[in-house]
């Protein structure tokens, strides 16, 4: 019921925000290989704002909460990540709006909505060597696990594992989006910063997922 849902949503957002701040340096190094190195800085500065105002965010329901977070991200994160992550949170929030009993399927649907938002905003798709290449396989695994009847903690762990594998696999891809794409073939051989960042965040969620 709602309180639990909201608590869960808050936990997810707070974990993503705190881990993004904690991983600033590492995320920056990932982006420095063939990008411009600001990925870690952008996420960290943005999520610092989210954490600073965390307690005052509108909590009418999970959807509203996520939408408010989306606005904070978009207005405080620069670079490509601001619009991309902002859109993702906005779409997820939208798909959960008014829903006060969020099922596993609802969560998956929200994540799918986020993916659609990223694709539209970034005019990107699977295979372009972006965070999508980690996010989509991760969601597929989460969905399968939940449908197979795993409880949330297990499903989130499987999702994280899938995200990690998929992120590693991006090193074989040539970047077609983002700054990395300017180096062309040279982007092959290193993982995508956004994809690996996403895997790290998913793993943190799995590591800290509260027992029901």
């Amino acid at each position: 019921m709602t309180d639990d849902d909201l608590a869960r949503t808050e936990f997810v957002v707070r974990t993503i925000a705190e881990e993004s701040v904690a991983q600033e340096k590492y995320f920056g190094e990932l982006d420095a290989v063939v990008g411009d190195g600001d990925f870690g800085y952008s996420l960290a500065r943005g999520f610092e704002f989210v954490l600073a105002d965390f307690d005052t965010i509108d909590r009418t329901d999970s959807g509203t909460f996520l939408s408010r977070v989306a606005v904070m991200i978009t207005s405080h994160i620069g670079g490509t990540s601001g619009p991309i992550w902002g859109t993702a949170f906005l779409r997820a929030g939208g798909s959960l709006k008014g829903n006060d009993d969020i099922s596993g399927a609802d969560a998956v649907a929200a994540l799918r909505a986020a993916v659609e938002g990223i694709k539209k905003r970034g005019q990107s798709d699977l295979g372009d060597k972006t965070l999508l290449d980690a996010l989509v396989p991760a969601i597929d695994t989460l969905e399968a696990s939940l449908e197979a009847g795993d409880d949330a903690a297990v499903a989130v762990r499987k999702m994280a594992t899938a995200a990690r594998e998929a992120a590693e696999a991006t090193s074989t891809l040539e970047a077609r989006r983002g700054r990395a794409s300017y180096t062309g073939e040279r982007s092959i051989g290193s993982v995508d910063a956004g994809a690996m960042g996403l895997a790290v965040l998913a793993e943190k969620l799995a590591d800290t997922w509260p027992a029901d």
Partner: protein, 331 residues
């Protein structure tokens, strides 16, 4: 990292404050949005021209705010497009009855932020148009890519529309002029060293004592390929061979030439390079109508240079020749 800097997170704000303190009569600074704008903006008899993009490219663009150039610049952090609200607030503050022209170098992050900002502004009833600059020939343009980058050539679009705006050109006219200048502008860059973003504290990539990066942009990312260092004569050939066939520039053309320093290269070397390029253009029957040698659009402390050619016609050359009063280099 050895820079004149305090807290890396304050690098951009402290730099902007310095610009404001150095130009108390002509510029205003709004810390909340990294905004540097003309003290006399908005002016309802003139279209407001705003440039976005990240920081680390100085003098572009916060130091090119002034009469005949920009009305305002609201850069993001180093190498990061400005967050949405920087742009929307800047547009609100500087919007003029004649409208607002947003100049944006073509990068994913900037594109997205400014497209969103344009929607917001129009919703607020502001007349606004966005102009994307993409002069970098190092990037292959195709439907599968994000298209070419906007780099030092941005200066010529900025200068041309800035001059036209002073003379009262309306928004539609400015877009026409800007697109025309962008369409005849080509740039290619070479890095001798990697740059060091304040937040990172170390060079973005490793480069050997005898290595250079060919085809770099202005965000410190590696270029299209790495090569052994070569004499300035050969570097001039690499730059010209990439630029000339692209438009193409041909015998009989009259051009503006910019040899732009990337931040760590002294002007002595830039003039040496300019001399070589000038002579090679002569040999090809291409005459230099105007030339620009110095740091115009940098990549922090990167040693290197970019070459920009603009094919001139009477209209463009006239606009480039118009006066401008900006923050930097006062004699």
């Amino acid at each position: 990292m050895k820079k004149f800097i305090n807290d890396p997170k304050q690098f951009v704000p402290e730099m902007l404050e310095g610009i404001a303190l150095a130009n108390p009569d002509t510029l205003k600074y709004v810390p909340a949005y990294n905004l540097i704008h003309r003290a006399d903006a908005p002016n309802n008899d003139k279209v407001t021209i705003i440039q976005g993009s990240g920081s680390g490219h100085e003098p572009a663009h916060v130091m090119t705010v002034g009469r005949g150039m920009l009305d305002g610049a609201c850069p993001g952090d180093v190498f990061a497009a400005p967050p949405l609200d920087f742009i929307t607030e800047t547009v609100k503050l500087l919007a003029s009855d004649k409208g607002v022209l947003l100049l944006v170098n073509n990068y994913t992050g900037d594109r997205m932020a400014f497209e969103m900002a344009e929607e917001v502004a129009e919703a607020d009833g502001v007349k606004v148009k966005t102009l994307f600059i993409d002069d970098d020939v190092a990037v292959k343009d195709s439907t599968y890519t994000v298209g070419r980058r906007g780099v030092a050539g941005n200066f010529f679009v900025m200068k041309a529309v800035g001059a036209a705006a002073e003379k009262g050109a309306d928004l539609v006219e400015l877009v026409r002029i800007g697109e025309k200048v962008n369409s005849v502008t080509r740039t290619m860059g070479i890095a001798l060293t990697a740059c060091t973003p304040p937040a990172k504290g170390e060079p973005l990539f490793e480069l050997g004592d005898d290595e250079i990066e060919i085809g770099v942009g202005i965000h410190g990312e590696p270029g299209r390929r790495r090569a052994k260092w070569m004499p300035a004569n050969d570097i001039a050939d690499v730059l010209l061979d990439a630029i000339l066939p692209d438009l193409p520039f041909e015998s009989g053309d009259r051009v503006a030439v910019m040899v732009n320093g990337l931040g760590g290269t002294p002007i002595s070397e830039l003039y040496l390079l300019y001399g070589i390029i000038h002579k090679k253009l002569d040999e090809k029957g291409i005459s230099v109508g105007r030339n620009y040698v110095g740091d115009y659009c940098t990549s922090l402390d990167m040693a290197g240079a970019s070459l920009t050619l603009v094919r001139l016609d009477e209209e463009i050359e006239g606009l480039l020749a118009e006066p401008a009063e900006i923050a930097i280099r006062v004699f």
